[in-house]
């Protein structure tokens, strides 16, 4: 173990916040689907990567600005989410079986990606990666900063919608007790379609963030599952600000561990933290 300099430590914390923001964007849609729709949606990861590849394609071949691609991807993904919800409603899929169905969808999407873009690594070369910002002695990469901005904006807006609007209140009511909510005039089926569409849009947004800062490969879909589930659970499924808070906690603890010890030790700290939190957290769930 070595004690790093203040700059190194600061840089580690900063990169932890950035990776945490990426965790948050990926986890947000998963968390909402889990907490409010009772679905454990593995396909969320596949959709995010599909979104990332689409961003890559539109930006590299189509020459669009990566941020602008979201305007095209988001509506398409909303439709995708609605279609998936139709499948879930039509067959009344239980939460446990949703895991299986969406795993099957993940495999299908993975092979689709592999067929179109091959199994090789792809990297989006955008103008954003060249911009170099500095705050004091700290180096701030622009793609990661954008991810952080997107994470904060999305989390706060979802939080505000759930908390302060009638639609949000209805969604929370329907999640708690669908028949009672329906008796109070909540159209929970329609809400579920909207919510599922929004979750898929969030996957599209996560895809943009992935494309901005990560190297893409079809097999990478599975690499994120463990840590993102940890983030969602730690934040509490269905809670809009949960993934952001938990993502940053896990991201920073990983980054600091990497700086202080060897990079390979990083998962121990974050997951031990998670285990302790799950065991010792007072109150419900």
């Amino acid at each position: 173990m070595n004690v790093p300099s203040a700059t190194l430590l600061g840089q580690a914390i900063l990169s932890g916040i950035f990776i945490g923001a990426l965790y948050a964007v990926l986890g947000l849609g998963l968390s909402l689907a889990w907490g409010l729709l009772g679905q454990i949606n593995l396909a969320h990861f596949a959709f995010a990567f599909l979104g990332a590849y689409l961003t890559y394609q539109l930006a590299t071949v189509g020459g669009l600005d990566p941020l602008f691609t979201l305007a095209l991807i988001a509506p398409a993904f909303f439709a995708l989410g609605v279609a998936m919800q139709w499948l879930f409603t039509r067959f009344r899929v239980s939460p446990l079986n949703s895991l299986l169905v969406t795993f099957g969808l993940t495999v299908i999407v993975e092979t689709l990606i592999q067929a179109i873009w091959t199994a090789d690594f792809r990297r989006l070369e955008s103008g954003y990666a060249d911009v170099r910002l500095r705050i004091g002695t700290l180096f701030v990469p622009l793609p990661e900063l954008l991810t952080l901005g997107i994470a904060i904006a999305l989390s706060l807006s979802v939080w505000a919608v759930l908390r302060y609007t009638d639609v949000g209140r209805s969604m929370r009511a329907a999640a708690e007790d669908a028949p009672i909510a329906a008796a109070f005039g909540v159209n929970e089926r329609l809400l579920a379609y909207v919510l599922s569409g929004v979750c898929a849009m969030l996957a599209g947004a996560a895809g943009l963030c992935l494309a901005l800062s990560q190297t893409l490969a079809p097999a990478q879909i599975y690499a994120w599952i463990g840590v993102i589930f940890a983030v969602v659970m730690m934040g509490g499924p269905g809670r809009a600000l949960g993934p952001l808070a938990a993502g940053i906690v896990i991201g920073v603890s990983e980054a600091v561990t990497m700086a202080v010890t060897a990079p390979a030790w990083a998962p121990v700290v974050s997951f031990t933290l998670l285990i302790l939190l799950l065991l010792l957290r007072p109150g419900k769930t």
């Binding site: 454990i40 499948l87 067959f91 009344r92 899929v93 239980s94 446990l96 079986n97 895991l99 299986l100 169905v101 795993f103 099957g104 969808l105 993940t106 495999v107 299908i108 993975e110 092979t111 689709l112 592999q114 067929a115 599975y222 599952i225 463990g226 589930f229 940890a230 659970m233 499924p237 060897a262 390979a264 030790w265 990083a266 998962p267 121990v268 997951f271 031990t272 998670l274 285990i275 799950l278 065991l279 957290r281 419900k284 769930t285």
Partner: protein, 582 residues
């Protein structure tokens, strides 16, 4: 049961002959993989499928076995076969350490358990990666000598995996039919109820976890030598936990053979396509098959059929004649002498929830053979009292003497075994067991602890007694409220209790249903059980109770003969408010 075991032995023996046929090694290697996944999926199902504690950490225990064998065989030159028991032990001890902590926390159920076990996998993988156990480059086992079991290497692995798969499926089958399996199924449906019905939930979960993980550990040990080069990345990948869940659910988690069927199907599909020229399309087809199977067979391949073949009630006799034979003194009102000994004595009992004093200084006793009414306005602490006596909550202070022994704070199943049964105000049947199995489970774990067949006979008897004889093969969902309440009573009775705590059995029933329920309570008493009756229906209280105890705000405010106690000023105030002129 014997027939199934014999069938399993015959199938395994036939498969053991395969190496003699001299097939190309390709077939044996493929079948090795099938058996390998059968072991992993079936072992996972023993805890997670039966009890509903979904583990996403099966890869950790598999990996513990892989590295136990790899370390011993490669670094210490221990003969390969000797490393397998160690692999099993390492995995089992690891699971016990986790279980000892995790299963104590009542909150850790469902997805929390799934996530905890997943997190354990990552922690374990990181530790192995960073310590000399692996250290990063992986462990080579190519120099480890392979025992000569079959004619060549591939048939040796084939036979090892076959033997383990046979043992695992046999164990899963035996557990399924045994007390352990029945207890695990009860935990799956409602763990709190299972505990107060006498199922030692904590020990059962630990036993199932250790058994499940030991088998996964052996599979890991064999697989280490099979792949001959082990790395942390491959061993602890998400593939193992995800695959075993998929295979088990595909096959059906409530059936002992379900995971084996699912494992065979998925392994065959994967292999068929990855080996062909259309590997990518094949993978997509596997995904599609999975989606379609789950959509159209949500209970798994073996799940649906099993529910259909629920056996009809054996020897169902006319209810009336049987009842009269058995309870001749049903109408008799045995008078309880005032000097009858106390069966339950409660002293200074206190319980608070986050500052709300639900019970304080509660002191009273229940005499052997009496019907004691427990009354009080809503929120006065009646249900809390029952929950404390039955062991669901631990009291903050006070003593509960049951037949002279202090049971305050004892685990629910101990209290249950000592002879205290309870019912729930809102019936809580085991939703995926038939009505008969619900009652038989109580008989198996209650005061009498009967064998399964005796328990089923006993269950049939009590179902007749509770006028549910014709519903024995139904699932609880198919019963109406009245029948579900009677199912609660039948379950409490099959227990052979000395003391029954009845929590508002009459609420929500119509007047004629109340009459038949009152009759049933009388019958229960005639069986010799002491009854504590929590009730709001005054007509029933007056008809049934020898004495009553009235609670208000967690304190005893009156005690005595029903009519007198209800007239006491404190009771009148509690129910109607203080008199205007006071």
């Amino acid at each position: 049961m014997i027939r199934t075991v014999v069938a399993l032995v015959v199938v395994a023996a036939a498969l053991a002959m395969v190496p003699l046929a001299g097939l190309p090694p390709f077939y044996e290697t493929f079948l090795y993989l099938v058996f390998h996944w059968i072991v992993l999926a079936t072992s996972w199902n023993i805890l997670s499928g039966y009890s509903g504690y979904l583990s996403f950490g099966h890869g950790a225990f598999f990996g513990a076995g892989v590295y136990a064998t790899a370390t011993l065989a490669a670094h210490y030159e221990v003969p390969f076969l000797w490393t397998l028991p160690v692999a099993a032990a390492v995995a089992a001890v690891l699971s016990l350490v986790i279980g000892l902590v995790v299963f104590r926390v009542r909150r850790v159920r469902g997805e929390i358990f799934a996530l905890l076990t997943l997190a354990v996998t990552f922690v374990l993988a990181t530790i192995i990666l960073n310590t000399p156990i692996d250290g990063g480059p992986g462990v080579y086992l190519s120099a480890v000598p392979l025992p000569q079991i079959g004619p060549n290497a591939s048939s040796t692995f084939y036979l090892l995996a076959l033997a383990l798969a046979f043992a695992t499926v046999l164990i899963a089958y035996l557990v399924c039919g045994a007390r352990l399996g029945r207890g695990l199924f009860a935990i799956h449906d409602d763990e709190d109820v299972a505990e107060v019905m006498g199922v030692p939930t904590y020990r059962f979960k630990l036993a199932a976890f250790a058994l499940s993980c030991a088998l996964a550990g052996i599979a890991g040990g064999i697989h280490a030598l099979f792949v001959s080069y082990v790395t942390v990345g491959e061993t602890f990948s998400i593939t193992v936990p995800l695959s075993v869940v998929l295979m088990s659910i595909l096959g059906g988690t409530r059936h002992w053979a379900g995971p084996a069927v699912g494992a065979a199907v998925i392994t065959a599909l994967m292999y068929a396509f990855t080996a062909s020229d259309y590997a990518i399309a094949g993978k997509a087809i596997v995904g599609l098959v999975l989606v379609l199977v789950i959509l159209f067979m949500p209970r798994g391949i073996l799940g649906r059929r099993r529910d259909r073949t629920a056996p009809a009630a054996p020897h169902a006799e006319p209810a009336t004649s049987r009842r009269e034979n058995e309870v001749p003194s049903a109408r008799a009102e045995p008078a309880v002498r005032a000097d009858a000994p106390a069966i339950l004595e409660i002293f200074d009992l206190a319980k608070a929830f986050a500052g709300v004093q639900a019970l304080s200084n509660v002191t009273f006793s229940v005499r052997d053979g009496e019907v004691l009414g427990l009354l009080g306005p809503n929120g006065s602490g009646k249900s809390t009292l029952i929950n404390v006596v039955s062991g669901h909550y631990r009291p903050d202070a006070g003593r509960i003497l049951y037949r002279g022994i202090d049971v305050a704070g004892a685990p629910g199943h101990r209290i249950a075994r000592a002879g205290i049964a309870r019912t729930y105000q809102i019936p809580r049947p085991f939703s995926q067991m038939t009505v008969r199995d619900n009652v038989a489970t109580a008989a198996m774990f209650g005061g009498a602890t009967l064998s399964r067949s005796a328990a089923e006979r006993e269950a049939t008897r009590w179902l007749e007694f509770a006028r549910l004889g014709d519903k024995a093969g139904a699932l609880p969902d198919e019963l109406n409220l009245h029948q579900r309440k009677f199912l609660e009573l039948a379950r409490a009775l099959a227990f052979r209790p000395r003391l029954v705590l009845l929590d508002e059995v009459l609420s929500g029933l119509n007047p004629s249903e109340i009459d038949s329920a009152v009759e049933l309570v009388r019958d229960i008493r005639a069986q010799g059980a002491t009854i504590v009756l929590v009730e709001h229906v005054m007509r029933a209280v007056m008809a049934l109770c020898d004495r009553i105890v009235v609670l208000d705000h967690g304190e005893v405010i009156a005690e005595g003969a029903p009519a007198e106690a209800m007239r006491s000023p404190a009771v009148v105030t509690a129910y109607l408010g203080a008199p205007a002129h006071a």
